[in-house]
Amino acid sequence: MSTTTPDIQEINFNTDAATRDNVLITSLDKVLNWTRRSSVWPMTFGLACCAIEMMATGASNYDIDRFGSGPFRATPRQADLMIVAGTVSLKMAPRVKLLFEQMPEPKYVIAMGACTVSGGPYIKYGYHVLKGVDRLIPVDVYIPGCPPRPEALLEGLFRIQEKMKFERILDRERKNLKPALFVD
């Protein structure tokens, strides 16, 4: 009996039982989006007290690993998701922007907590606080709270994953990467 692999044209997709049970047909977009949202790697980037909640989200009680987002990377080059967790001071702001620029595309940003959303309690008298990280980098999901509970951060992650679900490879160029309030 010959053991050579059959020529591709010889396979009958409709009738060959072994093929029918082992081949899935789907679109490339779906597969890519599925893989991407199943392994969102966040960057280890805690700036203030929100980072404590972010750590709690990573720890065993809330266990962000269940949703494929466990490995917090210590370098922006390996990360897909930047969770800006905490007060961004003006001294830190240029570094935040640099780290964001070093992340490979496609990249996503969660603004976690009142400070990163709007400046929070520092909005009026905080001379040193950036009044919302969206002045610096484009933000995908805002999570209010001071600090938000781990459940809220998980919900934010789900929203990011939901967003990834419907992306198309043909319009990969992300909308407007330049935040509205940043001037060169």
């Binding site: 950036l130 009044k131 309030l181 001037v183 060169d184």
Partner: protein, 165 residues
């Protein structure tokens, strides 16, 4: 060798006379107001003769009030001793807003090094003779001194718009 605040104040007045401008003892933290230029000598005397081997805190103060009756700046030195925790006293200086200069005590109590940098950074007090008087909290290119009462926050920083819309 715990001393009462009266004994400490009398010791200072005996040694420095008119350099001690004011003495207030019936408050929570008894203090002497010292002439700024004599501060380093007074501090050294406190450490070597009065047993204050520890600087508990150094604070920069802006005394400007709402009615603008005064716009002085000041520095408050909380002195302490180890191991005698009840041996406490306080020194103060008042400085003019235009020329807030006071001799450093960083060589007398090394802990004053960073405290003085902070007082320079946020209140803008110049510590004459400090080994490295640079900003410690704000960015190096920050303009102004943020905890002065007449300070206004910048609208932009490195091109980042930071005004409250």
């Amino acid at each position: 060798m715990s001393m009462t605040p009266e004994e400490i104040a009398n010791g200072l007045k005996e040694r420095f006379g008119e350099k001690i401008l004011e003495t207030v003892l019936d408050t929570h933290d008894p203090y002497c107001l010292v002439e700024p230029q004599a501060l380093a000598d007074v501090a050294l005397f406190c450490r070597d003769e009065l047993g204050f081997n520890y600087l508990r805190c150094l604070s920069g103060v802006d005394y400007m009030d709402k009615k603008k009756t005064t716009d002085d700046l000041g520095v408050v030195y909380h002195l302490g001793a180890i191991p005698d925790a009840s041996h406490l006293f306080c020194l103060k200086v008042r400085l003019s807003r235009e020329n807030p200069v006071v001799p450093t005590v960083a060589r007398i109590w090394p802990t004053a090094d960073w405290h003085e940098r902070e007082a320079w950074d946020l209140v803008g007090i110049v510590f004459e003779g400090h080994p490295n008087l640079t900003r410690i909290l704000c960015a190096e290119d920050w303009e102004g001194h943020a905890l002065r009462k007449d300070y206004t926050s910048p609208d932009t920083y490195h091109g980042i718009k930071n005004n409250v819309v």
